[in-house]
């Protein structure tokens, strides 16, 4: 008995005003803001890549091979990041690589996500035997030696972007199914979903109106984190020669190509490698921020900690303290 009557006025996510708060909230967290900016930049790069790359990323030039970055002796501003072993412009390739990473990431997350969510919804909603069967399938696939299977499938089908996307989707959907099922199962126990069923909502309405909205934020967070995994996996597979195939570009592929030149041209692996790292780091920072922000409880805690830190510092000087990087 006796629940708390704290009149909380924090709007839950999904309510009007939540979007408007987005930037206000983002300002609190410098790291999140940084992540968000880089993501925006990446998306722009991916969309407008062909327009902003100074050169065709695949254009070879045998005379301008292995030119160092602009600021090193021998470099020129024509090739800011230098050129690779085939005389291709590294800067252009880094920009072009963003597209593959994004395409791979988005497609895998969408494909795997759609399938996983479907399975999770069905399992969670139907329950009983359906649930048992589906979840046992998930269990079995989770116990599969993942990467070995990827290697195997790729070597059967032959490497390539599409293969890679499909294979990664096939090996990554289980997490969505598990998460969704878990949430649906627990949501089905919540009184308001039971109430919806009691007043006679059909299953479709229950799912779309009452269950799905609760899934968006955990799924978004999960999707973003999975996205980083896919970007890394894409890079690793391309590095092993099982992913994107030339003449297409990919950061992982560039690192793979550049690794043989590591002693003559460090920039070949450095820039694409950094591109991967910065991308993933930014997304992680953003996701981290988002996870906190979409969770009212976490948000409350973040606020309280910031306030407490402010008070601790406030004893010394009165400058408003920045909110901490928080998770």
């Amino acid at each position: 008995m006796a629940a708390s009557t704290t009149t909380s006025s924090t709007p839950s996510p999904g309510q009007p005003g939540a979007l408007r708060n987005f930037f206000t909230e983002l300002r609190y967290d410098k790291a999140g803001l940084f992540g968000f900016s880089v993501i925006v930049l990446l998306i722009l790069m991916a969309i407008f890549g062909p327009l902003i790359t100074p050169y065709d990323p695949a254009a070879q030039s045998v005379v301008a091979r292995l030119k160092p970055p602009a600021w090193l002796p021998g470099g020129s501003w024509a090739h800011i990041f230098g050129t690779d072993h085939l005389g291709r412009d590294v800067f252009s390739r880094v920009i072009a690589g963003a597209r593959i990473s994004l395409i791979a990431g988005v497609s895998v997350v969408l494909l795997a996500g759609a399938f996983g969510v479907l399975v999770g919804l069905v399992a969670g909603f139907r329950g009983g035997r359906t649930d048992s069967v589906l979840m046992r399938i998930v269990d079995i696939q989770v116990a599969f030696p993942g990467l070995l299977m990827i290697l195997l499938i790729v070597s059967v089908v032959g490497p390539g972007l599409v293969t890679m996307i499909v294979v990664l989707a096939i090996t990554n959907w289980m997490i969505y199914a598990r998460v969704v099922r878990g949430i649906v199962l627990s949501l089905r126990q919540t009184p308001y979903v039971e109430a919806a069923e009691m007043i006679g909502c059909k299953p479709g309405r229950v799912i779309f109106r009452h269950i799905l909205p609760n899934l968006t934020s955990p799924l978004l967070t999960l999707g973003i984190l999975e996205f980083t995994n896919v970007v890394l996996a894409e890079a690793a597979m391309s590095f092993l020669g099982l992913g994107v195939q030339p003449p297409a570009t990919s950061w992982g592929l560039d690192v793979a190509n550049g690794k043989d030149y590591i002693f003559v041209a460090w920039w070949l692996i450095t820039f694409p490698g950094m591109a991967i790292s910065i991308t993933v780091l930014s997304i992680n920072l953003f996701a981290n921020w988002m996870r906190v922000t979409t969770d009212p409880q976490e948000r409350e805690k973040r606020f309280a900690r910031a306030k407490a830190a402010e008070r601790r510092r406030g004893k010394r000087h009165d400058a408003p303290a920045p909110a901490p990087v928080e998770a």
Partner: protein, 343 residues
């Protein structure tokens, strides 16, 4: 109930004008707004009030458990006359916590560490405060389990919380609380999560221990019935303040504050044949921006102009004080006449 001679004059615990605030995104929640309390050795004090009135925060403040986002902004807490907030206080507070003062929480389900045997959890206190060895502690644990009425202590001591029923767990909590023979036991709604039959058992246990160990007890509850059976003195809290304080017998018979009156009248009674309950209209104020003056003003049928000023907790008649400008004025009519059966 308790023998009068066990109550010495020296207050064991004094809470003075205690204010606690919480930082939330919505603003500052004024959890406690100047609470005054004191309890003497062997005394039983009940704190009643509705949800959110600040009962638990008071208990936590005494135990030194106020954590981010909360903080004590003003006031003082004294243990045997010595402040726990200033100077060496905090250090002393850490020493007495669990040893001289102990706390029982409301929810026995989550208050025990699910991964440790209950015996180990009790032994932990003994080892920490009394410096007992494992074997010494073990013997004492069995004694304690015996004392709180748990059958087959050796077996129970080795069980995990999830293997015990709610009532058992609450007994374990009590065993843990009395392990170091404290002088003050604060029980924060110890029976709220339990069924009436089990509640009766637990209350009886606390009453028994109080007598045998000459404990002082602060019993926090929202159930006036529980208060009635166990406590000598009662403090009624409303919106972060104590609005009335007095001897139980007195308070139930002649409630001074309108809120206390309303509370007593709206509580359904088993021995009462009224069909219709009397409700206090409205709901408690938000502590984000508590109203100036008397917080009960908005719901009070006898509120007057003056109520916009905060009334002090003043003695109304011997043994009772209330924070009201119009104490003891009946705020509600007598119960409506007994209605016939519905049809």
């Amino acid at each position: 109930m308790t023998t009068m001679d066990a109550i010495s004059d020296m207050p064991l615990l004094e809470v003075e004008r205690l204010c606690v605030e919480f930082d939330t995104r919505a603003g500052v929640v004024h959890g406690l707004r100047g609470v005054d309390l004191s309890i003497r050795r062997g005394e039983t004090l009940a704190i009643v009030g509705e949800s959110g009135s600040g009962k638990s925060v008071t208990a936590q403040a005494v135990m030194g458990l106020i954590d981010v986002p909360g903080r004590i902004v003003s006031g003082d807490i004294k243990w045997k006359g010595q402040s726990l907030l200033t100077g060496d206080g905090p250090k002393r507070a850490r020493e007495i916590r669990g040893k001289e003062v102990s706390l029982i929480f409301q929810d026995p389900m989550t208050s025990l560490n699910p991964l440790l045997t209950v015996g180990a959890q009790i032994a932990e206190v003994l080892q920490r405060h009394l410096g007992m060895t494992k074997t010494q502690a073990r013997t004492r644990v069995l004694e304690l389990l015996e004392a709180v009425g748990i059958p087959a202590p050796p077996r129970r001591a080795n069980q995990y919380p999830h293997e015990l029923s709610g009532g058992m767990r609450q007994r374990i909590m009590i065993a843990m609380a009395i392990a170091c023979e404290p002088q003050l036991l604060i029980a924060d709604e110890p029976t709220t999560a339990l069924d009436v039959t089990i509640q009766a058992q637990v209350l009886e246990l606390i009453a028994g221990l109080q007598e045998t160990l000459n404990l002082s007890v602060i019993l926090i509850t929202h159930d006036l019935g529980v208060v009635a059976g166990l406590c000598r003195r009662v403090a009624v809290m409303y919106a972060g303040r104590i609005v009335e304080m007095g001897l139980a017998d007195d308070l139930f018979e002649r409630p001074s504050h309108p809120y206390t009156q309303g509370l007593i009248r709206s509580t359904p009674r088993l021995d009462d044949r009224m069909n219709r309950l009397i409700a206090i209209e409205g709901s408690p104020p938000s502590l984000l921006s508590p109203p100036v003056g008397c917080s009960f003003r908005a719901r009070c049928p006898i509120a007057v102009e003056r109520c916009t000023e905060q009334p002090p907790l003043a003695v109304v008649h011997p043994g009772a004080s209330a924070a009201c400008w119009r104490p003891s004025v009946p705020a509600w009519q007598e119960s409506p006449p007994l209605e016939a059966a519905l049809t």
